[in-house]
């Protein structure tokens, strides 16, 4: 088995601030993903990466950057936090046809 860890668990930021979320997996999976979960809106794909140093934009990539410097880690940066923004960011990884393993999430609050 394996595990996905996300840090921090809770992130509180100020409007306009650049914020970075980190994700580590020890499944040795090639592909990693970042999703945003908003209440009533399901999960939406922000970025994904099929291998080290690869980045692909999802439907919600505007306002975000990502980085995959190692196979085991995938970082997401909120380039300018929006006031009153609240969401959970979920990291996931996969090796076969779509079965994704999710981390516990980072809960973002912007004051």
């Amino acid at each position: 088995g394996g595990i996905i860890t996300q840090t921090p668990k809770f992130l509180i930021g100020q409007e306009g601030q650049k914020l970075t979320l980190k994700c580590q997996q020890n499944f040795n999976h090639d592909t990693m993903y970042w999703y945003r979960q908003d209440s009533g809106k399901g999960l939406r794909l922000i970025y994904y990466s099929i291998t080290e140093n690869d980045l692909q934009k999802g439907d919600l990539s505007e306002g975000y950057d990502a980085s995959r410097e190692k196979k085991s880690s995938f970082s997401l940066t909120v380039t300018s936090a929006q006031k009153n923004e609240m969401a959970v960011f979920l990291c996931a990884s996969s090796i076969d046809w779509g079965e994704q393993y999710f981390g516990p999430g980072t809960r973002l609050t912007v004051l």
């Binding site: 996905i4 592909t31 993903y33 999703y35 009533g40 809106k41 399901g42 999960l43 939406r44 794909l45 994904y48 099929i50 692909q56 999802g58 979920l90 996969s94 076969d96 046809w97 779509g98 079965e99 994704q100 393993y101 999710f102 981390g103 516990p104 999430g105």
Partner: protein
């Protein structure tokens, strides 16, 4: 683009009763369908998956059949338990799985004693 529709936002029912959660999808590619379950403050976990038309797949008492003719993958259980209270997501993947999943909005299931 791809889309997944879950018609029920909230389902409340009593322990021991059957449940069916609806899921329909739209895609121009050969679909892979999934059900994920997310308990409160936990990560989503895979419950069921299928890419085979008209074949029932089962796990932990839940079952679903992919029907490509009607673009559906409804989730069912014959007798719900209190521990089944959770958020259930239907999700779709195309042939190229690496492009990520398209999720429905989710159905919250609340089971009462």
């Amino acid at each position: 683009g791809d889309s997944v529709t879950q018609t029920e936002g909230l389902v409340t029912l009593t322990k021991g009763l059957p449940v069916m959660l609806n899921c329909t999808y739209q895609t121009t590619y050969s679909p892979f369908l999934f059900w994920y379950v997310q308990h409160l403050n936990e990560a989503p976990k895979l419950l069921l998956k299928s890419s085979t038309d008209n074949k029932r797949t089962e796990h932990q008492g839940f079952y679903a059949t992919l029907h490509k003719s009607s673009s559906s993958f409804h989730l069912q259980k014959s007798s719900v338990q209190l521990s089944d209270s959770a958020l259930y997501f239907c999700a779709l993947s195309e042939d190229n799985y690496a492009q990520g999943l398209t999720f429905g909005l989710g159905t919250r299931v609340s089971v009462f004693p």
